[in-house]
């Protein structure tokens, strides 16, 4: 056909198609078109109907499946300062590439994780950011490190991680032909890395050999923290039909609770570690060889008991690598000893060496019920170690009797229901059928309730908690989650009735939520009052459980702990009186516990810690005598404990805690030499601890705290010259810690305090420009904190106190107008705070200081009347404090000083 013919055809075609179908034939006959063209037209018209769908879908849509397959070709692209070399793997929301720096800053190859462009939404960016934070918090030799993070030119976030050039742990073991002990050692190192992550509240959720690479030097490295977390999240949200869409992600390493889409906990990681160990020992995964279908594996993981690794070695190993040896004839056992030869060196692993302990250990990690597994990766590792040392392991075979007793222990209600069914059957009465049905329903109810609580508690402890802790800008969402959870718990608690076990579970859940809301160590949520409410609900439940059986030590201990935590939170929230009451309640219980269990060092130690923390209140409120009584009691206990176990880490911590607060108390009554000796002792002990635990944040912080309190002693002593040397270095630790973890409210607070203390010693030493510089630093850190949680009174009070320091320096520099402005802000802040909490005498003291300094400023500005008015206010407050016996020893002469100042001001009036 030619172009001109086609032109004719399409013209006629247009006319024909415009006509109703039954008229077309006639039209063509009458139009007189050439028969050849007419045939062509008729052949085309036939497809009018059929072709209507043609290209309804665009080419892009039509081809996206195979374009998607080719999408890995980002290689060569430049992202920030990196060039992508090749794809290493793809996850749910991002892909990981091998990349290198293009700016030549360093030569290192990195693993660069990129958020997919279509995933670049605010919510996912937050997740990505969260992953970055998680990685930043996980500095461990066996976890791939975070190196860098940023965004590409087109605003796609990336994370650069340590690139681990190595083999998956299973391939490594086989290719190097590692023997059994070497495998176990390697695996234990992996456990320690997982345990470290758990202690940092991070769950991996996707542990499998390809996420544990072993370098050429034999160092295992854990990879893929965030991806796994996000993958499992998507997984949890997806409906069951999409299992196969997960594609490469085999469920083989996922725990039953993960596959059931229930709460994932650290125990899920323990399960996955169990699968990895199973594979390292037997060369197989527990459910894989008989079930080839994904869905069947899925079902097996949930329902079937796993075989033992040694039996897999016996039956399922690939023929090429297995040699069956006859059992030694003298052995009574008839089971054959199967040997797996693996690797170039043909190292052998025999089923005999695995049978028994190692079987039991693996199977304990693989229990369906999370609470029956090892309680931590560390415990799993310890049990392996015990096996290697020839000691008795804790893992036991899974017997029916054990299962039954466990079931009854956990489900008292259900056990009763089961008993009813049992009686009905034994009685052989047909009419009891309905009874059985009722019982079954009852049991189902009880189980559901129980499981709901457990699930919720677990998910709060391990899922919500770490996320809430670090996620910024999600306050509203967090609150909503908490409110929903609380409603849920409240309704369950109404149902709990007389079920003590359930009440206790519930109390734990409330306490965990309370921790989240009002956490002492991280007040980022700043919802202390809500936290106290949750502790209160838990306390009522615990009180009921305790009242039901006052001889039960465990419930007594838990109630004491509840009161103790409540007391500390109240004190943190400046509710001094309530805090003291709660401490008293806890103290009563703890004293009883310690008395009834004189041999339990744990109970003794807890009592000591309680006495020390309780004593801090009178120390800070200048009631040193009261504090010293408590400390004496604590000191006696600590002395006994350290004598009994001189190397106990916990006892040493208690000891430094006591030395520190006692030194503080001594300083406040003017016994500086005694205080300095105490600090020196505390520093000596904690230095040793710090060297033993170089990566333990709490130990390092405890060293800082001691130094910081020593610095404050010099301030109390008004020894500026020696104080600078003691104070200036205290800013270093919190500064470094804050750089590592910018969200950490505790270290930010520490940093502000350190700068403030340094400002004070500079002032005492007469260096006012440095005073101002340090006070400004303190203010900038503290106001960032205060902005995050505007209702935290302590932060506000701190800001006011730093301002007082600035005002003092300004007065010394004779910049009175500036000092006046600063002091006005101070008083505007502090007066309402002091009025709201009259029991905290330091607030009153701050207000009096504000008035006193204002008086000095007014006097120097020539506003004598105002000066007298201000000094009168200061005097009134100090008088009241003096009557309450709430003035520090160093302020003995304060009232006289103030009167003298007033005299000066009055004298000036007279002269004028």
């Amino acid at each position: 056909m030619h172009t001109d013919q086609w032109k004719q055809i399409k013209d006629v075609l247009a006319e024909v198609l415009a006509i109703e179908p039954d008229g077309r034939q006639r039209f063509l006959e009458e139009s007189g078109v050439d028969p050849e063209l007419r045939a062509e037209i008729e052949s085309l018209i036939r497809f009018e109907e059929e072709s209507s769908d043609l290209m309804q879908l665009s080419a892009v849509e039509f081809s996206k499946d195979f374009v998607a397959d080719d999408s890995s070709s980002l290689a060569g692209e430049e992202i920030g300062p990196y060039r992508l070399i090749r794809e290493l793997g793809v996850g749910g929301m991002g892909a990981v590439y091998l990349a290198e720096r293009i700016d030549g800053k360093f030569q290192q190859k990195v693993a660069l994780k990129l958020l997919k462009r279509e995933m670049n939404t605010a919510a996912l960016r937050r997740h990505f950011e969260q992953e970055r934070e998680i990685l930043a918090s996980l500095e461990h030799p066996n976890i791939a490190r975070l190196l860098d993070a940023g965004t590409s030119d087109d605003k796609i976030p990336f994370i650069a991680m340590e690139y681990v050039d190595g083999l998956p742990i299973d391939e490594y073991c086989d290719s190097r032909g590692l023997d059994l002990n070497a495998r176990l050692d390697l695996f234990r190192t992996v456990c320690s890395a997982v345990d470290f992550a758990h202690r940092n509240l991070v769950i991996h959720r996707d542990l499998k050999p390809s996420n544990v690479l072993v370098t050429n030097d034999g160092v295992p490295k854990l990879l893929d923290f965030g991806i796994s977390k996000i993958i499992s999240k998507e997984f949890a949200d997806a409906d069951a039909a999409t299992i196969t869409r997960m594609g490469v992600m085999t469920p083989s390493y996922a725990s039953p609770e993960q596959l059931r889409r229930e709460g994932v906990t650290t125990l899920s990681d323990v399960y996955s570690l169990g699968v990895v160990l199973f594979e390292l020992l037997s060369g197989h995964r527990p459910f894989e060889d008989k079930e080839h279908d994904l869905r069947e594996i899925y079902g097996a993981i949930i329902d079937k008991e796993p075989p033992s690794p040694s039996s897999m070695l016996a039956t399922g190993a690939p023929p090429s690598s297995v040699v069956v040896e006859k059992a030694k004839s003298e052995m009574a056992e008839t089971r054959a000893n199967i040997v797996r030869r693996t690797g170039a060196n043909q190292v052998t692993l025999s089923s005999q060496s695995i049978r028994g302990d190692l079987d039991n250990i693996v199977l304990k990690a693989l229990r369906k019920e999370p609470e029956r597994r090892y309680s931590s990766a560390g415990n799993l590792s310890d049990d392996i170690y015990r096996h290697m040392q020839g000691l008795t392991v804790t893992a036991r075979p899974n017997t029916f009797g054990y299962r039954a007793s466990k079931f009854i222990g956990r489900n008292r209600v259900s056990a009763v229901a089961a008993a009813i069914i049992f009686v009905a059957i034994v009685g052989g009465v047909a009419a009891t059928l309905w009874q059985a049905r009722v019982a079954r329903a009852e049991r189902a109810n009880a189980e559901k309730r129980f499981n709901d609580v457990r699930k919720l508690a677990n998910s709060y402890i391990f899922d919500v908690y770490p996320e809430i802790e670090n996620l910024e800008g999600s306050l509203k969402a967090r609150e909503k989650i908490l409110i929903n959870a609380l409603e849920y718990l409240d309704s369950l608690s109404n149902e709990a009735g007389g079920d003590l076990g359930l009440q206790s579970e519930l109390a734990t859940a409330y306490e965990k939520i309370g921790d989240v809301q009002g956490a002492l160590t991280n007040s980022s949520l700043g919802n202390i009052q809500a936290g106290l409410d949750s502790y209160g609900k838990a306390a009522r439940l615990r009180e009921a459980v305790y009242a039901a059986d006052p001889t039960d030590l465990e419930s007594k201990e838990k109630l004491a702990t509840n009161y103790y935590t409540t007391a500390r939170t109240l004190w943190n929230n400046s509710q001094t009186k309530e805090a003291e009451e709660a401490f008293e309640r806890s103290l009563k219980l703890r004293r009883e516990l310690a008395a009834t269990q004189p041999t339990s060092v744990e109970y003794q130690n807890r009592l000591a810690v309680l006495l020390i923390d309780y004593g801090a209140i009178p120390v800070f409120n200048s009631q040193t005598d009261k504090a010293l009584v408590l400390f004496d009691e604590a000191a006696k206990i600590v002395e006994r404990l350290t004598e009994q176990e001189p190397n106990n880490f916990d006892f040493k911590k208690t000891q430094t805690r006591l030395l520190r607060i006692m030194s503080k108390a001594k300083g406040s009554i003017g016994d500086y030499d005694g205080a300095l000796r105490g600090f020196a002792q505390a520093i000596a002990i904690s230095d040793v601890l710090a060297k033993q635990f170089p990566s333990d944040f709490r130990v390092q912080r405890s060293v800082w705290l001691t130094h910081s309190m020593k610095c404050e002693l010099y301030i109390d002593k008004e020894d500026g010259q020696n104080g600078i040397g003691a104070c200036l270095p205290t800013t270093e630790f919190p500064k470094a810690a804050l750089e590592k973890e910018p969200e950490n409210g505790v270290v930010a607070y520490d940093l502000a305090i350190s700068h403030f203390n340094t400002a004070r010693v500079y002032r005492l030493a007469g260096d006012y420009p440095n005073t101002l510089a340090q006070a400004d630093k303190a203010i900038s850190v503290m106001s960032a904190l205060s902005k995050k949680t505007p209702d935290n009174m302590e932060y506000k009070r701190n800001l006011a106190v730093y301002d007082i320091e600035r005002a003092r320096a300004k007065i010394k520099l004779r910049q009175f107008d500036e000092a006046e402005t600063i002091l006005r802000v101070v008083l505007d802040t502090m007066v309402p705070i002091a009025e709201a909490d009259p029991a905290t005498t330091t607030y009153q003291y701050d207000v009096s200081t504000g008035h006193r300094l204002s008086a000095e400023v007014f006097f120097n500005q020539g506003k004598t009347a105002q000066a007298i008015e201000s000094i009168d206010r200061a005097i009134a407050i100090v008088q009241r404090l003096s009557e309450l016996n709430a003035l520090r020893e160093t302020d003995r002469t304060l009232l006289q000083e103030l009167s003298k100042e007033k005299d000066t001001y009055q004298l000036a009036t007279v002269k004028r």
Binding site: F47, M55, A68, S71
Partner: protein
């Protein structure tokens, strides 16, 4: 896009807006790269259950180039026309990677509700369409362009009309004829 590329594109666009039609050809590689990028991002992975509109893809590329160069295209449908051509090239390149040697022995799929069609069949079908479209181009260049803009560029009749400087009604009529012809050719190979 690197800074160098951005300034290069800016220059070309200025030339083109200034009436230099040859500048358009210079632009092609950049637009091609950008589209390929968009295709890769937008078409990869997780989106298999979403309907992906080529206009979204082309528009994204358009926005990126105009934003980065700060130049307003005199005629957006020009860009879309170019993009349609380039999209065809890109998708055919991809299809070649996945096609089988047995092309022609399989049914051709273009009534595309059927999600069961394998990747290979889709790739084969697309290559057959490409050949048929080449033949149409020889027969009726304008019609081939219309099909290209519609199928590969996701343009609607209005945009196609604007690009070709003809009426929307003509576009409709030409498309209908092309549709019948293509369908017959595709199904009687």
């Amino acid at each position: 896009m690197s800074e160098k590329q951005v300034s290069e594109i800016t220059r070309i666009l200025k030339d083109w807006n200034g009436g230099n039609e040859e500048a358009r050809e210079e632009l092609l590689p950049f637009v091609y790269e950008e589209l390929k990028r968009q295709a890769r991002y937008l078409m990869s992975g997780e989106r298999k259950n979403h309907t992906l509109q080529p206009t979204a893809l082309v528009h994204e590329a358009f926005l990126r180039i105009s934003q980065q160069t700060g130049i307003d295209w005199q005629n957006r449908s020009h860009f879309y026309g170019i993009a349609s051509r380039l999209m065809r090239q890109i998708l055919i390149d991809h299809a070649r990677l996945h096609a089988t040697a047995k092309r022609g022995n399989r049914p051709i799929h273009f009534s595309l509700d059927d999600v069961q069609i394998s990747v290979e069949d889709r790739a084969d079908s697309l290559l057959v369409l490409n050949d048929v479209l080449d033949r149409l181009e020889k027969l009726d260049e304008q019609q081939a362009k219309i099909v290209e803009m519609r199928f590969f560029g996701g343009m609607n009749n209005g945009e196609i009309a604007e690009n070709l400087g003809i009426s929307e009604r003509t576009v409709g009529r030409e498309w209908l004829a092309a549709r019948l012809w293509l369908y017959r050719e595709l199904n009687t190979v």
